[in-house]
C-alpha cells in the first residue's frame, strides 16, 4: 500500500506550480520515489515522530551544530536536518555524474591555463580584465601550473533542477568547498531514523568516496607517509565543526596557521616534540589568509612563508592557492568558448545563463531584460558557506542598479533567475514541497575524478524562497542514490590482510597541547572557585554572621573574579565556566562530545540561575561541582592517556596545587579564625578522610598534614606535586639518565621539600613559597612545550615621503 491518496493529492496540488522530484505532472509518484513512499505510507505519525527523534538525538549527541551570525554574536544552533532524503533516479544519476566529471576536467584545464600560459586570454576567448582585476588571481602563484601536484583535487558543484527537468550548474566551489562532512553526518543521522528503508533501497554508501579521498591525500604525501593536515581558520569559523569532524574521521591533524612554521622551503608543524615536517594540507582556509607575508598582510590566521613552501614544491595544498578564481561568476558567461578551446568538447551540464556587463552590447541586453534577471558581482568572493542562492548573486546585492557604462559593468553580471524544483519534506502539515538545491562533491586521484554518490541537499524553509540559506532558517536533507545491488559496507579501515599494528599517535601540535593544558587549569580553577563559594554560602545559610573567616574567603574569591559583596557571585562563576567551555570547544576533535557537553551544561546552569535570579548559591554550586566531577571522570576514564592527556593532567595538578596552597595559606595565616580548619578540610574535600584518620578534635597540625603533606590524599598539595612530577617525566624529550633541565630540577626539589617537611613548619611563608614555585614551574613548562605567542606585523611606520 502506498501513501494515502489524499495526502498525495494535497501534496500534488501545492507542488503543481513547479517541477517536483517526487510527483510527476500527471499526479503519479515517480517510479524511483515509489519504494520510499510506499514505506513512508505505512508509518503512523507517531512512528515517524519517533524516527525523527532518533536522528535528532544522534546529531545532538555527536555535537553537530552550526553557527549562526547576527548582531555580533555567534550562536550554535541545532542542525536543521529534514526528512525524507532527496532520492535520485539511478540512470539519471549516472548521466549527472558523467556531466560533473566532465565539468571537473574543464575547471582543472581552465585553472591550469589561468595559472599557466593564459592562452584563453591571448586568444581573446576571455577578457583579460577578468583576470587582471580579479582579487582571486593571486600574483605570487602566477605560473604555478607547471608543478607536479594537481591544482584541484576536491571540488563541489552547486546544482538546481530547472523546469525542463535538467540539472543546471549554479556555481562551482573550488576554493575550500564545505559541506562534505555535513553530508556524511546527514547520512548517519538519516540512517538512524530510517535504517530499514535505506537498506531496502540499497542506498549507495559514502564511505568509499572518503576512503579514496584519504588514500589520495596520503599518496600526495609520497612514500614517506608523512603527516597530513587539515588547515582550518579556527574555532570562530562557521564550518569549524565540520573541519574537526572530518579531521577526526579521516585521521588528519587539525591545524591552524599558527601551528605551522616554514623553515627553508619546508612547512613544519610545531609540536610538543619539536618541529615535524608536513607535506600535504587539505586547505579549508581561504587562500588570501594563508600567508601574511605574500598574500593578505593583515591575516592573523596564516603562516608566514607558506607560499614559499608551496612554490618550492615541498608542500602540496588541496586545493591549490588561487583556485578560488574558478568561482568567479563572470566566468560562467564564457563557458562555451572556453570549453571548446580547453577540452574540445561541449559541456553536457548546462550552466545558469549569465551575462557579463563589461561589454557594451551585453550590458544593453541586461539593461533591457533587467526585470527577469538578477544582478550580482562579477568577481568571486562568494561566501564559502552556507548562503547559497539559486544564482551566484548574494542576498542583499540583488537589487543592484544596472550599470550605466560597460566600464562600470566590468564588475557586474546578470543571471537568469532559476526556478528550482521542489522535493517533499515533512513540515508541520505533513509532506510539503520545498525548493531544493544539490551540492555534489568530486575528488580526483590518479584514475581521474570521482563523484560522491550522494551529496548535500539544501531545502528552503518556505515554498517560494529565492535564497536557500541555513543562516535564514532553511534546512538540509540527505541525498539517496539507490542501487540495484545490495550496498557493501565500506569503512575507512584498511583492506583485509593489512597487518594490524598498534601505533602511538603522532606528535601533538603545541597549540593543542596548550589548549589541553589550559583546559585542565580552567576546569580546576572553576572548581576551586565553586568550592570556595559554596563554603561561603553554606556558612551564610547556616546562620553564621559574617566574620573573619568570611572575609578571608571573600578575598580568596575575589582573586578568582568572584565578587561576594556586590551580590552577584554567579557572574564571576559564569566567566570561569565559559573559559573552560571555550577552551574545550577549541580542541573538540580531541575530546569525547560528552565531556565537552558537560562543560557547556555548566555554563547553561549558571546562565539559568542568573536569568531566574536564583538565590540559592549552595544548590547552584553543588550542581556545578557534580558536573565538574562528571567532566573529570569522563576525561580520566575515556581519554587516550598519551601526551595530550598528560598536558591536561599537568594543568589540573598545577592549578589544584596552587589553589590548595593559596587557600591553606590564607586560612592558617596568623591566628586562624574559628572554623578555618573545617573550611580547609571542606575545601579540599577531606573531611571524611580526616574523621576516619584522626580524632574528632581538629588540630592545625593534623589538618595541615592531611591537606598539604599527605601523599596518599588525592586532594593534598603533595599529591599534586607528585602527579606533576610523574606526568612531566613522561613528556616528550625527557630522557632519564640525562642531566635534567630546569623544569625537572625545580619539580624534583619541590617534591623533596614536601616529602621531608614537618607539619609544624607548614606556615603561610612555606605555602606561599610553594605557590610561587608552582607558578615558576608552569612558566617553564609553557616555555618548553607550549609557547606560541601572537604574531605581530613588522610595521613600516616611517613610511615613504
Amino acid at each position: 500500500m502506498a501513501i494515502h491518496p489524499d495526502i498525495l493529492r494535497r501534496y500534488a496540488a501545492i507542488a503543481e506550480k513547479s517541477r517536483d522530484e517526487m510527483i510527476a505532472p500527471d499526479g503519479a509518484v515517480r517510479p524511483h520515489y515509489a519504494p520510499l513512499m510506499a514505506r513512508l505510507g505505512k508509518m503512523s505519525e507517531g512512528e515517524l515522530g519517533r524516527r525523527f527523534v532518533s536522528a535528532r538525538q544522534y546529531l545532538s549527541e555527536a555535537g553537530v551544530f552550526h553557527q549562526v551570525y547576527g548582531e555580533g554574536v555567534e550562536q550554535s544552533h541545532e542542525w536543521p536536518l529534514g526528512h525524507p532524503a532527496l532520492v535520485l533516479d539511478r540512470a539519471e544519476w549516472a548521466e549527472l555524474c558523467a556531466g560533473l566529471v566532465q565539468r571537473a576536467r574543464f575547471l582543472e584545464a581552465l585553472l591550469a591555463d589561468l595559472y599557466g600560459p593564459q592562452l584563453v586570454i591571448g586568444e581573446r576567448l576571455l577578457p583579460g580584465i577578468l583576470v587582471g582585476r580579479n582579487p582571486e588571481f593571486l600574483h605570487p602563484l602566477a605560473g604555478q601550473a607547471g608543478g607536479s601536484a594537481p591544482l584541484l583535487s576536491f571540488i563541489a558543484v552547486d546544482l538546481g533542477r530547472g523546469p525542463d527537468g535538467r540539472w543546471w550548474v549554479l556555481g562551482d566551489r573550488t576554493q575550500a568547498p564545505s559541506g562534505a562532512g555535513f553530508a556524511l553526518e546527514n547520512r548517519v543521522a538519516t540512517s538512524k531514523a530510517f535504517p530499514d528503508v535505506s537498506r531496502d533501497l540499497n542506498v549507495e554508501r559514502l564511505a568509499g568516496f572518503f576512503r579514496k579521498f584519504r588514500e589520495m591525500l596520503f599518496a600526495l604525501g609520497g612514500p614517506e607517509h608523512t603527516r597530513i593536515g587539515l588547515l582550518t581558520p579556527g574555532p570562530h569559523n562557521e564550518t569549524y565543526y565540520e573541519h574537526a569532524y572530518l579531521a577526526r574521521y579521516l585521521g588528519l591533524l587539525l591545524l591552524e596557521g599558527g601551528d605551522l612554521v616554514v623553515h627553508g622551503d619546508r612547512a613544519e608543524v610545531r609540536t610538543v616534540d619539536g618541529f615535524q615536517p608536513i607535506s600535504v594540507l587539505w586547505r579549508r582556509l581561504d587562500a588570501d589568509f594563508c600567508d601574511p607575508l605574500e598574500l593578505f598582510g593583515g591575516s592573523r590566521i596564516g603562516t608566514p612563508g607558506l607560499v614559499r613552501a608551496v612554490r618550492s614544491g615541498a608542500l602540496a595544498l588541496v586545493n591549490a592557492l588561487g583556485s578560488g578564481i574558478l568561482e568567479t561568476p563572470a566566468l560562467l558567461a564564457f563557458q562555451k568558448p572556453l570549453a571548446a578551446r580547453l577540452l574540445g568538447e561541449e559541456l553536457s551540464l548546462p550552466t545558469i545563463a549569465t551575462w557579463w556587463c563589461g561589454e557594451e552590447k551585453i550590458r544593453r541586453y541586461v539593461a533591457e531584460n533587467a526585470s527577469r534577471l538578477q544582478l550580482g558581482p562579477a568577481f568571486a568572493g562568494a561566501p564559502a558557506f552556507p548562503v547559497m542562492g539559486e544564482t551566484a548573486a548574494r542576498p542583499g546585492e540583488r537589487h543592484r542598479d544596472v550599470p550605466a557604462t560597460a566600464r562600470e559593468g566590468i564588475g557586474i553580471v546578470g543571471q537568469e533567475i532559476a526556478a528550482l524544483s521542489t522535493t517533499p519534506v515533512y513540515g508541520k502539515a505533513g509532506l510539503e514541497p520545498r525548493p531544493v538545491t544539490l551540492r555534489a562533491f568530486l575528488m580526483r586521484d590518479e584514475d581521474g575524478w570521482h563523484v560522491m554518490p550522494g551529496g548535500f541537499a539544501r531545502v528552503a524553509d518556505s515554498r517560494d524562497a529565492r535564497v536557500i540559506s541555513m543562516q535564514r532558517g532553511g534546512g538540509s536533507i540527505d541525498v539517496w542514490v539507490p542501487s540495484t545491488t545490495a550496498a557493501k559496507p565500506v569503512t575507512l579501515l584498511g583492506p583485509k590482510g593489512d597487518r594490524f599494528s598498534r601505533r602511538l599517535p603522532g606528535a601533538l601540535p603545541a597549540r593543542a597541547a596548550d589548549n589541553l593544558f589550559w583546559l585542565g587549569r580552567y576546569a580546576e580553577r572553576c572548581e576551586a572557585a565553586t568550592r570556595l563559594l559554596r563554603l561561603h554560602a553554606a556558612r551564610n545559610s547556616e546562620g553564621w554572621s559574617a566574620g573573619e573567616l568570611e572575609a578571608r574567603l571573600a578575598v580568596l574569591l575575589r582573586e578568582y573574579g568572584v565578587e561576594i559583596e556586590d551580590g552577584h557571585p554567579q557572574r564571576g562563576l559564569l566567566a570561569l565556566g565559559r573559559q573552560s567551555a571555550d577552551t574545550a570547544s577549541r580542541i573538540r576533535e580531541r575530546f569525547s562530545p560528552d565531556a565537552w557537553r558537560t562543560l557547556e551544561d555548566i555554563v547553561a546552569l549558571i546562565l539559568e540561575a542568573i536569568a531566574e535570579e536564583e538565590e540559592d548559591i549552595v544548590e547552584l554550586t553543588s550542581a556545578i561541582l557534580t558536573h565538574l566531577s562528571g567532566f573529570a571522570g569522563l576525561a580520566h576514564e575515556n581519554m587516550y592517556q598519551f601526551t595530550g592527556w598528560r598536558f591536561m593532567q599537568c594543568g589540573r595538578a598545577l592549578e589544584r596545587g596552587q589553589a590548595t596552597a593559596a587557600v591553606a595559606s590564607a586560612l592558617v595565616a596568623e591566628a586562624p579564625p574559628v572554623g578555618a580548619l573545617e573550611a580547609l578540610l571542606t575545601f579540599t574535600d577531606s573531611s571524611v578522610t580526616y574523621r576516619r584518620r584522626y580524632s574528632v578534635d581538629l588540630s592545625q597540625q593534623t589538618v595541615v598534614d592531611l591537606t598539604v603533606l599527605d601523599p596518599l590524599n588525592p586532594r593534598s598539595l603533595a599529591f599534586q606535586v607528585n602527579t606533576l612530577a610523574e606526568v612531566t617525566a613522561a613528556l616528550p624529550g625527557v630522557h632519564l639518565g640525562e642531566t635534567p633541565d630546569l623544569l625537572l630540577r625545580r619539580l624534583a626539589r619541590l617534591r623533596v621539600r614536601l616529602q621531608t617537611a614537618d607539619a609544624l613548619e607548614v606556615d603561610t611563608a612555606f605555602l606561599d613559597r610553594v605557590a610561587a614555585d608552582l607558578a615558576l614551574i608552569s612558566d617553564l613548562l609553557t616555555q618548553r612545550y607550549l609557547l606560541s605567542s601572537p604574531r605581530a606585523a613588522a610595521e613600516w611606520s616611517g613610511g615613504p615621503e
Binding site: R133, L293, A794, W796
Partner: protein, 290 residues
C-alpha cells in the same frame, strides 16, 4: 646622471622578537632608463635564511628570515645608479577615452600588463568625488598631457605635510583632507585614474637628495619616495609622474619597485613574534657623482 645611493632602515625591538620573516624591496631596478651597479646589501644580524627572488611585477625581492631572538634589525643598501630616461612624447598619446578602450583590449595579464592596474586593490578603492575630480581634469584631450595637468593639479591642490597621515590613511581620507605625503598623493592619483579607465600603478623609489644649483629642493628626498606610473598606450607604455612635486619622473627619480599600491611595493614588510613594541627609522642619501 649617476648617483651614489645609501638606504638605511633600522628596527628596535626592546622586548626582542623571534620567528621573523621579511620581504625587502630595496634594490634599484634595472631597466631601459636606469642601470644599477655595485649594489650591496648588508643585513644585521645575519639572517638565518636569505633568498633573492623576483616577484610578479618583476621587482627584486630579498626574502630573509630570523628564527632566534633579536632586538634590532638593520638593513643597509648601497648602490650606484646611472639614470638616463628619455623624455616621453606625451603628444603622441591617445585621448583619454580611447586610451581606456585600448587598455581593455590588451590580451595579456602578465606582470607588465595594464590590466592589473585598473581595479581596486588592497589599499585603493574608487571614491566618487575623486573620480569626478580626475574626470574634469582629464577631459577629452590627449591623455599624456591631461595626466601631466592632473599631476600638477594635485601638487597645487594638496598640502605636503609629513606626519599628517600614516601608512593606514585611506584614499578617501587623504582626498578629503587634501594633504599628506607622497604615498597619499600617489594613491589618490592612482585611484582617480583607474576609476576613469586609465591604468595606473604605484612606484616606490629614491629621489635625488640635493637639487642642481639654482633649483628648489624636491619634497620627499630624505626618505623613500613614491610616485605613479601611468600606462599611455602600447606605443608609450608606462610613464612616470610625480604628483608630490608636480613633475614627470625624470633623471632625479630612481625606481625600486612597482605594484598595484603601496602594499605590493613596500620596502620592507613581514611578520614576527614579539610581546613588545617596535621602533623603526630610515634614511636615504642620493648623491650625484657626475
Amino acid at each position: 646622471m649617476r648617483y651614489a645611493i645609501r638606504l638605511k632602515i633600522t628596527y628596535d625591538y626592546p622586548a626582542a622578537v623571534t620567528d621573523a620573516r621579511h620581504l625587502l624591496r630595496v634594490r634599484p631596478h634595472a631597466d631601459a632608463g636606469q642601470a644599477p651597479r655595485n649594489v650591496r646589501l648588508a643585513i644585521t644580524p645575519r639572517p638565518d635564511e636569505h633568498a633573492r627572488e623576483r616577484d610578479f611585477f618583476g621587482n627584486d625581492v630579498d626574502a630573509i628570515a630570523f628564527f632566534a631572538p633579536h632586538t634590532e634589525l638593520a638593513v643597509l643598501m648601497e648602490a650606484e645608479v646611472a639614470v638616463e630616461r628619455p623624455v616621453p612624447a606625451l603628444e603622441l598619446s591617445p585621448s583619454a577615452p580611447s586610451l581606456a578602450e585600448e587598455a581593455l583590449a590588451v590580451a595579456t595579464a602578465d606582470g607588465t600588463s595594464p590590466l592589473n592596474h585598473l581595479g581596486a586593490s588592497r589599499l585603493i578603492a574608487p571614491v566618487a568625488p575623486l573620480t569626478a575630480y580626475v574626470a574634469e581634469t582629464l577631459g577629452d584631450g590627449l591623455a599624456g598631457e591631461a595626466v601631466m595637468a592632473l599631476t600638477r593639479r594635485i601638487r597645487d591642490d594638496f598640502a605636503y605635510v609629513p606626519g599628517a597621515t600614516s601608512v593606514g590613511t585611506s584614499v578617501a581620507e587623504a582626498f578629503a583632507a587634501r594633504r599628506g605625503v607622497c604615498q597619499d598623493f600617489s594613491h589618490v592619483m592612482i585611484a582617480g585614474l583607474r576609476a576613469n579607465g586609465i591604468p595606473a600603478r604605484y612606484v616606490s623609489g629614491f629621489l635625488r637628495t640635493e637639487p642642481p644649483k639654482g633649483q628648489p629642493r624636491l619634497e620627499g628626498a630624505d626618505a623613500m619616495h613614491a610616485w605613479v606610473d601611468v600606462w599611455l598606450g602600447g606605443e608609450l607604455g608606462w610613464v612616470g609622474f610625480d604628483p608630490t612635486n608636480g613633475i614627470l619622473a625624470g633623471d632625479d627619480h630612481i625606481v625600486v619597485a612597482v605594484g598595484r599600491d603601496y602594499s605590493d611595493a613596500l620596502p620592507i614588510g613581514g611578520t614576527f613574534v614579539t610581546a613588545g613594541p617596535q621602533e623603526t627609522d630610515h634614511f636615504v642619501d642620493v648623491i650625484p657623482i657626475g
